[in-house]
């Protein structure tokens, strides 16, 4: 984002917009995560409480999801950088 060419009011506005988008993205990711982990881990509704197995499963699920999203982000950024480099070089 090109912050040097905007005056402070526009900068503040842009920052607010970006923040809102990030919040939305975050909430979306959270609900996606909850749905997936529930579908994957909780199949037995004979009891209301979360058993320790399910607890462990949920832990693993959240961990893996976040690590996965981090890695996908890294690969994507790398890919983008490469494409931009080759576009600049051409």
């Amino acid at each position: 984002m090109d912050f040097s060419q905007m005056n402070p009011a526009e900068q503040a506005h842009m920052t607010r917009v970006i923040e809102r988008k990030q919040m939305q993205d975050f909430m979306r990711m959270y609900s996606n995560l909850v749905e997936r982990c529930f579908n994957a881990c909780c199949n037995d509704f004979t009891s209301k409480a979360l058993s320790s197995k399910e607890e462990q499963c949920v832990l693993n699920c959240t961990d893996k999801f976040l690590k996965h999203s981090e890695r996908v982000g890294a690969r994507f950024a790398e890919h983008n950088a490469e494409m931009m480099n080759s576009a600049v070089q051409k």
Binding site: E70, R71, A74, E78, A81, M84, N85, V88, Q89, K90
Partner: protein, 497 residues
């Protein structure tokens, strides 16, 4: 009263029948079948069945063995794939080079060998690979040389490194270099080794100016007299030097500088650095070369031609040997034990060089008589080159050149006559317009580029020529080898993350 020979009213009772016959006799099977003795089929059938079943059986046995061998090697390495890797870390990446086999139009064969026999084990161990193919002879040499020169320019600060908008933790130049060194190279076949070493030597010896091959070639071709008019305009030709880059269409006889027009429109040129802009102390070949990643030498032979068909058939039925060799090589790569690249000592090399400077003479068997070094890797594969391909390669290029230039004058004449309007196009020329002069020049450039690259590549790859070697490479190259046999559990492997 006789028990034998009854009459028609009272036939002799049949003897009690045993077992299966009693059960089957009422099923409707013709009784003569129940009395037959088992016998072999006829002689002809026997021959047919035995031959077919032998061939099919051997094929099936071979493929089953292939699967078994592959699975055995995969099982040895698959635990590596299950190891956790941090989300910001990258897996190990090897670079695979596969050059074109002399005489084969299919340039992909060495890479296909890699894909079929070495890759499955790498995939099972979760090792990433980058495949670099050489489409024509000498491609890999050129590419390696270009890469090295680009890196040298970066190191000396002549070029700025490309930095994107954000810096990722794994992509700083030191990190990249470290990963490249740990990754390793795979070299499939002796021709690839020759090309790679030639590229390496060239990259570390040549100067650092940015040279565009096509432009260079265009300049060389301009001075060639091929596009000149047949009329005696020699005085005018000599007066126009090369310092007249802009075409002057008013001077009708000369038509040289068109090629300069065609090339710039195809690129967006960054202004080329002048060749004398690089101070000589930077341009000189460095005395010491930084360490190179270790190489895995994979022997590869491509069989082409009628005389090699029996060998091809044998190979078809005995693929398990290739599977084992490929998997063994992949295992060496994954385990990561290295040893230095061996080459004959410098005195031997210099003796061999002065003895055989004439490329037409066969190489004296100097080097091969000493203990075999890595420079003689896979020499026996070269004996499988098609003799006609080796012998006639340069002659074919010469013949193609000659026939092209013989036909060129006539086409040029038509093009010029039509362009200047001295002649109206005939009906068929209206429908299928013949190539204009610009097109003819472009075509000539393309053909010359192709021929010259082929000739250069052939001079690197031909069987009489040895693998290129430079004294600076002596302690810098490494080769993957088998882990030491004595049961040290962690022998001396280079770490593979």
């Amino acid at each position: 009263m006789s028990s034998t020979g009854g009459d028609s009213a009272f036939p002799t009772p049949k003897p009690p029948q045993s077992g299966v016959r009693t059960v089957l006799q009422y099923t409707g099977i013709p009784p003569s079948w129940l009395d037959k003795r088992p016998s072999l089929p006829s002689r002809n059938w026997l021959i047919f069945l035995s031959v077919t079943s032998a061939v099919t059986g051997y094929y099936i046995y071979d493929r089953q063995q292939c699967k078994k061998i592959r699975q055995e090697y995969v099982d040895q390495v698959k635990d590596l794939a299950a190891q956790p890797l941090g989300s910001m870390e990258l897996p190990r990446k090897v670079t695979v080079y596969g050059a074109k086999w002399l005489g084969d139009e299919d340039y992909d064969r060495s890479m296909k060998y890699f894909r079929k026999y070495v890759k499955p084990v790498l995939v099972a161990a979760a090792v990433d690979y980058d495949m670099i193919k050489g489409r024509r002879l000498g491609d890999i040499a050129r590419r390696v040389a270009e890469d090295i020169r680009a890196e040298r320019r970066l190191m000396l600060g002549l070029d700025q490194p490309m930095t994107g908008p954000m810096q990722l933790p794994g992509t700083s130049p030191e990190e990249r270099r470290r990963r490249w060194l740990e990754g390793g190279l795979v070299i499939v076949g002796r021709q690839t080794l020759k090309e790679y070493m030639a590229g390496l030597k060239r990259g570390w010896t040549e100067g650092l100016e940015v040279v565009d091959r096509e432009e260079q070639l265009a300049k060389d071709l301009e001075n060639d007299g091929k596009f000149d008019e047949p009329e005696p305009e020699s005085s005018l030709d000599s007066s126009l030097g090369d310092d007249e880059p802009i075409p002057t269409p008013s001077r009708i006889p000369t038509s040289r500088p068109f090629s300069v027009l065609t090339s710039p429109t195809l690129r967006v040129p960054p202004p080329p650095k002048p060749a004398d802009g690089i101070p000589p102390h930077l341009n000189a070949p460095p005395a010491v070369i930084p360490p190179q990643p270790p190489m895995l030498l994979v022997s590869f032979t491509n069989h082409i031609g009628l005389t090699q068909i029996p060998i091809m058939i044998w190979d078809f039925f005995n693929e398990r040997y290739k599977v084992r060799d490929g998997a063994e090589a992949a295992l060496k790569l994954i385990k990561g034990c290295t040893r230095p690249f061996t080459a004959p000592p410098p005195e031997v090399l210099s003796r061999a060089e002065e003895a055989s400077t004439d490329p037409a003479q066969p190489q004296k068997p100097f080097l091969a008589e000493l203990s075999p070094t890595d420079l003689d890797f896979d020499r026996e594969a070269e004996s499988y080159y098609k003799k006609s391909a080796v012998r006639d390669f340069l002659k074919e290029i010469e013949a193609a050149r000659k026939s092209y230039y013989d036909g060129l004058a006539k086409k040029l004449e038509t093009a010029r006559a039509l362009a200047r309007g001295t002649r109206e196009p005939t009906k068929e020329e209206k429908n299928y317009p013949p190539p204009t002069e610009v097109e003819l020049r472009a075509e000539r450039l393309k053909k010359e580029l192709r021929w010259r690259s082929d000739e250069e590549g052939f001079s690197i790859v031909r069987p009489e020529k040895d693998v290129e070697w430079d004294e600076r490479f002596r302690n810098v190259l490494k080769v993957y080898t088998d882990p030491p046999q004595d049961s040290k559990s962690d022998g001396a492997p280079t770490p593979s993350p």
